[in-house]
Every structure is written in structure tokens, then in C-alpha cells.
Symmetry: none
Subunit: 214 residues, 4 copies
DNA sequence: GATGAATGAGCATTCATTCAT
DNA sequence: TATGAATGAATGCTCATTCAT
């Protein structure tokens, strides 16, 4: 039987209330979505006005949901990290006796493809200081460790590498591809694979070396 | 009788002339230095006013030397790239039958330690469009290729990797270390070494895995 | 049964809506007014900051209404020209069998009294390029032609003069009076009258010759 | 016998001194010339740097001769007025029993053709306050009066008009032509002629009415 | 006397954030 | 609650003028 989730009892006009909350939630999502797209496309310097406009809400609504532009950025980042984590979990669950790490790296990299913002901000003190982001990040590292452990049992990855190693390399891929364009990613990932793969493993470089000329 | 008149083209009133020029040049250097430091510390968004103040010159002096903030950024970058290139040349010259690539990578990475700007801007269309920067960049790639060729003869590097591959990985190291702090660099470089080293080569990871917690 | 629902197109929440708009519109007017006065008094070089201050609004509010200082200038000019055109229309309408041209010239001249800006800018390529201004200007010339035709039927004006002639002379009056002070205007206008009046018409110079000494 | 103009006695190295003075004077003239041209072409807002460059001298040399930009403008204006006065004197001297006023007006107008600056500044309190300019201006008015008197004896000009009237109209011509372009000048002058000519005199409008469209 | 580098005050404009409605 | 108008602080940049040489 489906759980009949109880509404908080103190709620005299539940329909109205819920409608409002639904609207508010939708606004939040819309802002988040617009911000995500615009940050990806044009960097963290896009004005909040434009984000609000693209989201189809007023400026003040944006600021009601995210008291500060910083907060909005953090929320976008946390969102993206959460999505990545969800994907990782699914992949690990379904991995069986296949290697899972490299697929994950590719997945995340593609997801962030051309995102000049995702990691642009992460690492700044102010961002790492944010508990939400910290938590998401920690989770990511743990999942990466899980993937590594899984693959290590299969003899696929080099001894000594950790989840944070993999994440660090992945950060590099994302940040650099943001500059060199997505064409550089395949190559870069294949180099990362070479770094992480167990010594005996066959390891071919794919893609073509980056040209530095867009 | 031959005139003993000094050629004006040589250097008339050398003391005076040179003093003026020296002062001007010093100001240019001071601005360049201040900008380099501030860009490193706080990113490209630092105001020109602050740069001028730190350099101990007026705003207008800054703009006399670098008509645009963009120009200043470019000059700083070109300067840093040139220094890197000089180092590379020296190392290649003195390499003998020792491998040279990894030393070079370490050198550049250390040099850029904590520089959130060096590569932040490079790769943006506007910057790659700048001929000075383009030239410096191209030269860097070529020197990297030379290093690789040198080391490949010694059987030290993996087949198929190019100078631009190495540079791409190095970019990743610099950009990421800017976020994770310099502690991450040794580890990151050892991973890069693993990616580039010839398969048979022994290849230990050094440093400790990054913590993502400053 | 017909719905008694108010059309949103009419004016939903008219009080609120109108109040907001009224405030905004008032700000626009205040800026326009302040700009008009300051341009008149001190030329087009007055800073936007001072204009905003005089209008009692923040700088940014000024820029919300007029994205560029240029736009503000154009709006002021167009406003003034429109007012002049309205007056002309009224005068022509009520003229009957009385001459109308000279009254119009006086009216406009008085209106622009001491305005160093109204025509200072008009005529510059950039301004004539502006469609709004161009249209207003064209209308002014046409109305001047109408006035001339009206008066010509009464035998009051010289053959061959056109609306643009009259406007050109009037421009001269305004620009010069801006320098010599409003005392010069009556005299100047009486000279213009002498230039435009039909040869037989009696034509006395009035006012006193300008002294060039304020 | 030619006058042997005595040098001021206190002058131990007359050759050198004179050379220096000649150089200084030439610099002054060069600056004046460059300023005249640039003011004409681009208005009073041209930077002093550009003027100095065009004059082939350093900025400081410019400021040695004209302690203030204002002073330079005044000097240019005074120069132009003096030239106009010289011309007027010559014309009056050679007039005989021919009318002289209209020729003078045309001459001055042509001289100032497209000069957006000559009268742009004159009339401002600050400028009229300048004694040099005031004197030049007064002289101009007097010469204009002389011309009028001369022509009045020939029955060519309307009773009651004064030199300052004529100058005022002329100012209008110059200022307006600066906006409408030189094409408007012939027409404008013919209208001025109509204003000043004695009532019986035949008086045709020439040139074509201005279009206000560059 | 002449120079060009240096300067600070000033400019138009933008932006994250707040407030009145 | 949601809005868009309002705001002032900050930014990159220019210019007449001064100063060291």
C-alpha cells in the first residue's frame, strides 16, 4: 500500500497552502534551471537580472529564494553535484563485474561539458565553507572511492589511487575543457585513464591532441 | 677634419635619457608585478585602482602603460609564459641524457602555484585572438614537444603523447591546485607522470591524496 | 450570461498598477525636467550624477529610464521640439486672418530662451541620425511651411522663403541669444522679421542693438 | 633707409637669445595653428595632447605658452577675430563708392566656414570676461559700424541697424552653418542681406533652402 | 626652454541588493 | 507572496595639468 504521507497538521487551508508552496517551489526550480543554463553558457558573471528574466520571475523572487547571488551559485553547484552523485550510485549498483570508474568519469565530464562554472567556484574558501556544498562534495569523494574499490577488485586500477585523486583529475578535465572546448575532453580523459589504470592494463590514448586553437 | 660630434642616434645625454626611461620602465614593471600578485591572489576581477595603488603609481600611469585592463592581463600572462619558456629552454639545453619533461612540469607548476589567473584567461577566444599571447603559447607547445622528443629517445615517455597533451594536463594541475591549494600539486603531478610515462617505467604516486578541505 | 469579469487589458488593480507607473513616470519626468534645466544652464557637459541628484533620484534610476546619456539628451530635445510643434499647431489653428509666423518665432525663441543645448546638438550627425529626433524635426519644418503659406496668402511674407529658411534663422536667434543673453532676442527677432517680411510691409526694428557686454 | 630696429640693450648673446625667442615664438605659432585646425574640425573638446602632438611639441611646451586650455582657446579666438578685423579694414579702405558690408559678412562667414568653435565659446561669461577677447570683439563691432556707415551713405542699408546687429546676425550664420554644413551659408547670408538692406533695395534670395539632412 | 611621464579628479555606466506597492 | 523600480557603491577609463629630468 502506498504511503499516505501526512501533511503537517497545522494547515487550515491545505489546498491553497499547497498551491502556494508548489508555486514557490516551481519558482525556485525555474530560477535554478535558468541559472544553471546561463552559468554554463556565460560564466558566473551573468547578472541576476538576466537570470530572473530567463526564469520568468521578478528579481525579488529570485532573492527571496536565494538571499544572495552566492547562495544561488552554491545551490546550482550542489544541484549538479547531487545529480552526479545519483548517477554514480546507479552505475555502481548496476556495474556487476564490469569496471565502473571510467564510465563515471566520462559521464560526469560530459555532464559538465563546457560548464565554465561548476568547478570555477568550488575550492574557493567561501564555497568550501558552505556546509551544503561540503556535504555534497564529501559524498562525491566517497562514491568515487566506492567506484575505485569496485574496480580495484577487478584489477583495473592502479594501487594507491584514491577517490579524491580521481576527482582531482576529473576537475582538471572539466576546467581545461571549459577553455579548450569539448573536443579536448576525450583525449584528456584517455590520459586520465592512463594515469589511473593498473600498470599492466592496456591503455590507448584516444581522441586527438588538443590544438589550443578554437 | 672629422667632426667629433656625437651621433644623436647613439645616445645623446645618455644619463638623462636613460634615467627617464629607467623610471618609466620601472613603473611598468611595478604595475606588472602588482598585477601579477593581485591576479594570483584574488583573480582577474581585482580593480585597476587597487593594482595601481599596490604598484605605487597613479591610475593613469597604469593606463599609459597598458591602455586597457585586458592589455594588462595579457601582458602579465605573456610575461609568465615567457618565463616558463625560458626555463624550459635552459632545462632542455642542460638535460644531457637525463629525462627533462617531468622536471619541467614541476617547475612550471610550482611557478604558477596558486595562480588562479594564468590559465583562467588563456583559452578564451579573446585571449587566444591576441597575437602576442598566441605566439607565446605556440612556443610553449613547441618546447613541450622538444622535451617530449628528448625524453622519448630515452624511452621515458609513452608513445603517442604530444606537447599539447602535456600542456593540457599541466593546465589541469595549475587550475586545480589553484583551488585545492598547493598541497595538491605534488600528488597531481605524480598522477600526470603516471599518465605520460612509458608503460614499463616504474611509476610511484607521491604526495598525499587531496583532502578538499582547506 | 455575459461575464462581468474585468478585462485584464483594461487595467487590473488599477490603483496599484497606476500608482507604480505614476511613480515611475514621475521619476522619468523629474529626470527629464532636471536635465532640461541643467542642459539649459550649463550645457550638455553636465554630469549625469548632478542631473540625477537634482532630479532627486539615484544615478541608476536615471539610467533605467535613459539607457545612455545620449538617449537622455535626445529625449530632452524631442520633448522641447514636440512642445514647440504643439504650440505651432494651436497658433495656426486659431490664426484666422491674422499673420501667424512672427508670433510663432517669438514663442519658440522665448521658450528656448538661454537654452544653450536645444540646438547645440541638433544637426550633429549622430543626432540627426536618430529617428525620433528626425521625425520631430521634419514635423517642425512642415509646420513652419504651413505657417508661411498661411501668412503668404495674407501678403505678409516675402516670396521664396521656406519653412526651413525660417527655422534656420530661428536657430540663429536661439543659439546667439544663448550667448548674448535674452536681451538680444527681441532685436534679433525684429531683424529676422525684416528678412522674412514681404518687401512692401512696414518693418521696424525693435529692441536695442546688442551690447556684447553682459 | 631702413630702420635699424634696436635690440633691447641688455642682451649679452643676442644671436642665441634671438634664436631661442624665435624658436619659442615658432612653437607658439605652431600650437596656435594646430589648435585652430583641430578646433575647427572637431570642436573645443579635442584633447590638448592631440593638439600638442599635431603641433609637433611636447605637452608641457603647450602649457608654457598657454597656461590653461582656456587660454589657448582664447588665443585662437582672438587670433581669428584679429584676422577678420584686418580684412575688414582693408575692405573699407578700398571700398570707394561700392557697398562694403555684404562682402565683409561673406568674407567672415567663409573664413569661419565649418568652424564649430569660433563662436561656440564666445559669449560665455568666462570668455567675455577676458580682456584680450573683449578688446578684439569691441574692435570688430566698431569696424562693423564703420562699414555700415559707409554703406548707409550709399543708401544701401536699412536705417537703425548697428554694427552689433550685423555681428549678431553674422554670429547666427556661423553657428548655424556649423551645424547645417557650409551649404546653408549662402542662403543664410542672403536672408541676412534681406534683413539689413534698405527697404527699397532689390533683394533676391540666393542659394537653396537648407534641408537639415546632411 | 623643452619634454613626456605622472597624476587625481572626474566621467558614464553596471550590478547585487532592497523597498514600496 | 511577487514584482519591478530604486539605489549607491564600484568599475574601467580620460583628461587637463604638473613635475622630474
Amino acid at each position: 500500500m502506498a504511503t499516505t504521507r501526512q501533511e503537517p497538521s497545522a494547515d487550515p487551508l491545505p489546498g491553497v497552502e499547497r498551491r502556494q508552496r508548489a508555486d514557490a517551489a516551481r519558482n525556485r526550480e525555474r530560477v535554478l534551471g535558468a541559472a544553471s543554463v546561463l552559468f554554463r553558457e556565460r560564466g558566473l558573471d551573468v547578472g541576476v537580472g538576466e537570470i530572473a528574466e530567463r526564469a520568468g520571475v521578478g528579481r525579488a523572487t529570485l532573492f527571496r529564494n536565494f538571499p544572495t547571488k552566492q547562495d544561488l551559485i552554491i545551490a546550482v553547484l550542489a544541484d549538479q553535484i547531487d545529480q552526479a552523485a545519483d548517477d554514480m550510485r546507479a552505475r555502481i549498483r548496476n556495474a556487476g563485474d564490469q569496471g565502473v570508474l571510467f564510465g563515471i568519469l566520462e559521464e560526469i565530464a560530459e555532464r559538465q561539458e563546457m560548464s565554465r562554472s561548476m568547478f570555477e567556484a568550488v575550492g574557493e574558501q567561501e564555497f568550501l565553507a558552505n556546509p551544503e556544498l561540503r556535504k555534497a562534495h564529501t559524498e562525491l569523494v566517497e562514491l568515487m572511492d566506492e567506484s575505485l574499490n569496485h574496480d580495484r577488485k577487478l584489477g583495473l586500477v592502479r594501487d594507491g589511487v584514491t577517490g579524491s585523486d580521481a576527482l582531482m583529475l576529473l576537475k582538471g578535465v572539466c576546467m581545461v575543457s571549459d577553455e579548450l572546448g569539448p573536443e579536448s575532453m576525450e583525449r584528456h580523459l584517455s590520459l586520465v585513464r592512463a594515469a589511473l589504470a593498473a600498470p599492466g592494463t592496456e591503455c590507448r590514448l584516444t581522441g586527438c591532441a588538443p590544438s589550443f586553437e578554437r
